[in-house]
Every structure is written in structure tokens, then in C-alpha cells.
């Protein structure tokens, strides 16, 4: 089977992001494979190991995202597709249309995995939009996955420690989250072999996708520094009295 994993090139979650030009950021920081996508790659690799076939890494990003495609291929995957764009921010609507076109042009999917969300924009839209575009079932926040004879059973977190079990027909889109599998850091030989795996580079423009332009990034702003915390001392009654006083007089959230 042909399994696609949609992987995003994101700034390291520990990176210090500097806003430049109002709606962009300084890209000289370190970039990584979107952490949730690592679970997606792991699951796709296990599936193909069992069922046979190939894992194809698909990434939409700037030319520099090639490093992320290679890093993803070191974790798992047989070949890659890098769809190049000059845009720093591509809205989920357009991303999903581009991914659909690229996957179809490449031969079409028997299964699609992705991370449930990107660690940078956190839109949580792409899985749903991609599935809708392709007319496939979709489940995200997936922590358990099994496949047998064209049927997919997933378990997903629904909060409060509860899990929902969903059966879907393949092909479908699965949005992975932490816990789906244990991310094992790649073995050294796999890292070195990843650079020899084929990666097809395409220009996003050549796919001729017509996005509606539903979302526009207007501005990026630095998160304000958190102000100093206040420790309230004394007995519970005293502390509560002080708190009410502060909420009323200083924060002015109480009448």
C-alpha cells in the first residue's frame, strides 16, 4: 500500500521567535519535524512494515524545509515530496488543497497520516480539510491505531481520561497525537541513509491550486511578558480577603 505522511517544517518548540515585519518571524532559528508528525511517521512505518508498500513524506514549505524532509526520512519513510512555496504562512485551506493535488498527482493514497496539529500555527484544520477535499473519513487526536483488510480502527482521546473507538474505511486520514506510539529516535545508519533517499521537489505554483483565501495572517505579536506573581500570606480567610480586595481594587474585575 502507498501511505502518505504529511509533515510540517516548524520552528523548534524551544526556539526564541522574533517577530519581523509585523506578520513574519526571523527564520534563522532551528527548524524541526513537527513533533506530532513524528508519531504519524512512526505509525505509517509500522503499517507498511506489516502490510508492505511504501511510506511517502509530503511537506509543503520553503526550500529550506528539505532538512525536515530528510529528518522525517531518517525516522521512517521511503521517499519524499517537497512542495516548495515562498510563503511563510500558508493557510490550512490552501495547504489542504495543495497536499490533495500533490498526493493525487503522485498516484493517490491508500492511507494518510499527519500530526493532529502543527506546533507553530496550531490551526488543527489541515487533517479535516484534506480528508474533506479527498472525500475520506477522518479522525484526529488518535492514540491507538489498527488496520486489517481495509478497515481502520482508531482510539481517540475525548477528554476526562475517556477514549472513543472509531471504525473507518481505508483510505482515510489519521491525525496522530502523543501516545500513539513511542517515538524512537532514528538509528545512526538510518540518518545517514536518509540523505540518499529520493525526494521529488515540486513548485507549489505548478499544482495550480485555486484557494479561496479564507484566512489572512494580519499580525504576529510577541506574547507579553508575564507580570510578577503575588504570594498571598496569612490564614485562608485572610488570603481570600486580600484576593477579593486585589481583584476589586487593582485588577478591577469585581464590582
Amino acid at each position: 500500500m502507498r501511505v502518505y505522511v504529511c509533515v510540517k517544517h516548524v520552528p523548534d518548540t524551544a526556539a526564541n521567535i522574533k517577530v519581523v515585519g509585523g506578520s513574519g518571524f526571523d527564520e534563522s532559528v532551528k527548524f524541526i519535524v513537527n513533533p506530532y508528525d513524528e508519531y504519524a511517521i512512526g505509525e505509517a512505518s509500522q503499517l507498511v512494515k506489516k502490510e508492505g508498500g511504501e511510506v511517502v513524506i509530503v511537506t509543503l514549505g520553503k526550500a529550506s524545509a528539505m532538512t525536515t524532509v530528510r529528518a522525517a526520512l531518517a525516522i521512517g519513510g521511503d521517499r519524499g515530496i517537497l512542495i516548495k512555496t515562498d510563503k511563510q504562512f500558508v493557510e490550512s485551506d490552501e495547504t489542504a488543497l495543495i497536499l490533495k493535488k500533490a498526493i493525487e498527482d503522485d498516484g493517490g493514497a491508500d492511507m494518510i497520516f499527519a500530526g493532529k496539529q502543527a506546533a507553530d500555527s496550531e490551526g488543527m484544520q489541515t487533517c479535516y480539510r484534506l480528508a474533506a477535499n479527498l472525500g475520506m473519513p477522518v479522525a484526529t487526536e488518535v492514540v491507538g491505531f489498527s488496520y486489517a483488510g481495509g478497515k481502520v480502527v482508531v482510539e481517540r482521546e475525548i477528554g476526562g481520561g475517556e477514549r472513543e473507538v472509531i471504525e473507518m474505511t481505508a483510505p482515510c486520514v489519521v491525525g496522530a497525537t502523543k501516545g500513539l506510539n513511542e517515538v524512537r529516535y532514528p538509528k545512526l545508519p538510518d540518518i545517514m541513509k536518509a540523505k540518499k533517499k529520493p525526494v521529488n521537489e515540486i513548485d507549489a505554483g505548478s499544482l495550480k491550486v485555486d484557494a479561496a483565501g479564507l484566512v489572512e495572517l494580519v499580525a504576529l505579536e510577541q506574547v507579553p511578558e508575564r507580570s510578577n506573581a503575588k504570594m498571598l500570606e496569612g490564614s485562608v480567610t485572610e488570603a481570600v480577603d486580600t484576593l477579593v480586595k486585589l481583584l476589586r481594587d487593582e485588577a478591577k474585575v469585581l464590582e
Partner: protein, 386 residues
């Protein structure tokens, strides 16, 4: 070197994306499997044998060795990355123990037969066998040409008698790449034999009790009429001295890395402690004397590391660096002597007890200017090549 250079970081092309990924993988192993246990292993003066297997499975033992033997070929900086990250375990002994492969198998890879490589290289890279190098003897270390262990050829085997000392991984080693005398009483009479620990007449001392490197099982080896098959001879008879010397450049580079990392970790620990520890109503870092000490330490560490990288880059390009790597080793050891001393000084009493990492770094550091060629031998080499 790096295939994919980030244009903005083009000046820094020692490490590329693959190096970063390898760094991350090794760091993960160190954080998950080693750091939570290292204090206990150090106190028990050992580490579990299964760590060799884990390192082998991750591909860490085979870095720089041929793919046909299960290795992962790569440039010199790939090896540096692995060495640097293993040092994050804060245990030079563990790194030396896992790393004895790197002094033991290169001569077999360079000069050995296919059959020898299958038997003595492949399983070591996989982490299934432990390899050690045996050169130093109770009668002498630096004076390699004068070694006394004899190997007398008797038909299809050598009869080996003598002993070796300060052998890293000596207690647990399955095989020793061993320097023996097969000919004249000088450098031209030395050969390298692979001696297997199961050979009748082979025995070892208990682990030697050392100043540092506690996790490493260092031993004396005793050879009492060992029958070692002639097929275990590496390369040509009486050429061993030259094979040993070929090996030293890369061993010295690894020692530079160990010294630089020992110093760097000591510096990091001292910087952290200086902001946490208060004296006379302010953190230690509030005193100019501490800040200046830290600034000096940081300068030394940076200079030493950069020089090592530069020499490594030239080695990688195939340029002879025997003089320069000797300089780098001496410089790096001098820096780590100074920096570990100063780090303990900043910690005060807390740096003299075993709860602190700097205490171990200070002890572990001492061997670096002795092993792999002493400071004095390095200076002899430098002065001859000046």
C-alpha cells in the same frame, strides 16, 4: 563535511543536519538510559553490559567504520558528535569503556583479513563482543618499543607470555588487540595479535581502583603460555609498532573531545551554581571575582574546542596533523585541568563531595593528560616536528 549548509550559518560548516540528528539520537540515549543511573554505576564501578548492545543497535559503536561490517561511515565530525554527546553522561569512565572499541578495532579494519574482520570487528560493532587494546605493561607505558610480552611462533600458533596493565575494558573484554614481541628488541620486533579472553592461560586482575573513570573496568591482564593461532596475527609480523602509531591520531582526537567536554560541562555546572548559591547576601555571580573567573574559563573552553575542530577538519581532509593533534591534546588537557579545578573552587565544599558533578569531572580529568600519550610524549612529538 555537512552536505546541507544553512546559508546563514555558512561559517560554521563543521556540523550539518545529519550531525544534528545524530546528536539528538545519542542525547536521547544518554538522557533516557544513562543519566538516571550514572551515579549508581559510578559508585558500583561498572555499567551494565547491555549498554554495549543498546549502543550497537543504535549504530553508535560503528560510526566511522565500513558499512559492510555493520558500521556507519561518516566524516570525522560524526564521530565527534557521538563523543561529545556521550560525555554528557558526565562519566568519562563510561565513555572510555564504551569507547575501547575505537582503539581496539581500527588496526584490524586497516590490516586484518576478511575472516578476522568477520570474527573480531562485526560482533564488536554490533555490541555483542567487547574489544580492548593491550599495549602498556607493568614495566613501561610510553616506551612502547621496549615492551616485554613475548610471542614465540610454534607451528600454527604463537606461545604468548607476559602481562599488560591499565587496560580499559580489561575485565570484561572478549578480545584484546595486543602488542607482543615477535622479533628484535626494538620497534621493529613488535606484532599485533588478537587474543581472546577464553584462551587457556589468560586471566585478569579484579577491576583496578582508580582516582577517576570509576565506571570503566580497568584491569591487568596475565598471559601464561597462551596458544594464540597464527591466524590471529594482524597484518604483517614485526610491523605492529607502526600499526599502533597509526592509531594514535584518532585516539588523541577523542581525548581532546573528552577534555573539551569535561571542561565545558564543568563550566556549565559552575555557571549554574554561581547564580543559585548565595554568599554575603547575593549570588556568587554577583561578585566580580566569580564573573571574571567564569569569563576566563569560558574563553579557555571556547578556544580549545575551536582549535580541536580545526585540527579535526584538517584530519578529515587527509592532511597530516600529528604535530597539531598533539598540541590540541596538550592544550585541551591544560584547559580542562584549569577549568575543573576552578569549577570545584566555585562550588567550594559542595564541589568536594560526591553529590556534585564537578567532583567527578575533576577526578576523571586527571587521566586525560596521561592516557593516549602523556603530555611529555606529546611535547617530544611536537618538538621533533617543529
Amino acid at each position: 563535511m555537512a552536505d546541507q549548509k544553512d546559508s546563514k550559518n555558512d561559517f560554521q560548516h563543521y556540523f550539518g543536519k545529519e550531525h544534528d540528528l545524530v546528536r539528538k539520537s545519542v542525547r536521547e540515549l544518554v538522557q533516557k538510559e544513562i543519566l538516571p543511573n550514572i551515579d549508581e554505576w559510578e559508585e558500583k564501578a561498572t555499567f551494565p553490559k547491555k549498554l554495549y548492545k543498546m549502543a550497537g543497535e543504535l549504530g553508535l559503536l560503528g560510526v566511522g567504520y565500513p558499512e559492510e561490517l555493520g558500521g556507519t561511515p561518516g566524516d570525522i565530525f560524526l564521530k565527534i558528535v557521538v563523543g561529545e554527546e556521550l560525555m554528557r553522561s558526565t562519566s568519562g569512565g563510561l565513555v572510555a569503556g564504551l569507547g575501547s572499541i575505537d582503539i581496539a578495532i581500527p588496526p584490524i579494519i586497516r590490516k586484518g583479513t576478511e575472516e578476522q574482520k568477520e570474527r573480531f570487528v562485526r560482533p564488536v560493532i554490533a555490541g555483542d563482543r567487547i574489544a580492548a587494546l593491550g599495549i602498556t605493561e607493568p614495566g613501561g607505558g610510553s616506551d612502547v618499543a621496549n615492551l616485554k610480552t613475548t610471542a614465540v611462533k610454534k607451528g600454527d600458533h604463537y606461545l604468548v607470555n607476559g602481562s599488560k596493565t591499565f587496560i580499559t575494558s580489561g575485565v570484561r573484554a572478549d578480545q584484546i588487540t595486543c602488542a607482543v614481541r615477535t622479533g628484535s628488541e626494538n620497534a621493529h620486533g613488535i606484532s599485533l595479535l588478537v587474543i581472546e579472553s577464553g584462551t587457556p592461560g589468560y586471566s585478569t586482575s579484579p577491576p583496578m581502583k582508580k582516582t577517576g573513570w570509576w565506571a570503566s573496568d580497568t584491569a591487568e591482564l596475565y598471559f601464561d603460555n597462551l596458544k594464540v593461532p597464527v591466524s590471529n596475527l594482524i597484518g604483517e609480523e614485526n610491523q605492529g609498532f607502526y600499526y599502533i602509531m597509526e592509531n594514535f591520531q584518532s585516539e588523541r582526537l577523542q581525548l581532546c573531545i573528552m577534555a573539551n567536554m569535561t571542561a565545558r560541562i564543568a563550566l556549565e555546572q559552575a555557571m549554574k551554581y554561581a547564580t543559585e548559591r548565595e554568599a554575603f547576601g547575593k549570588p556568587l555571580s554577583g561578585f566580580q571575582v566569580t564573573r571574571h573567573k567564569l569569563a576566563e574559563m569560558a574563553t579557555q573552553v571556547e578556544v580549545s574546542q575551536e582549535f580541536t575542530y580545526r585540527v579535526a577538519a584538517k584530519m578529515n581532509a587527509g592532511i597530516n596533523q600529528i604535530k597539531e593533534i598533539s598540541m590540541a591534546k596538550n592544550f585541551a588537557c591544560q584547559v580542562s585541568d584549569r577549568v575543573t579545578f576552578d569549577a570545584v573552587q566555585i562550588f567550594g565544599g559542595a564541589g568536594y563531595v560526591r553529590e556534585s558533578v564537578v567532583e567527578r569531572l575533576y577526578r576523571d580529568n586527571r587521566i586525560l593528560s596521561i592516557g593516549g600519550g602523556t603530555t611529555e610524549i606529546m611535547k617530544e612529538i611536537i618538538s621533533k616536528l617543529m
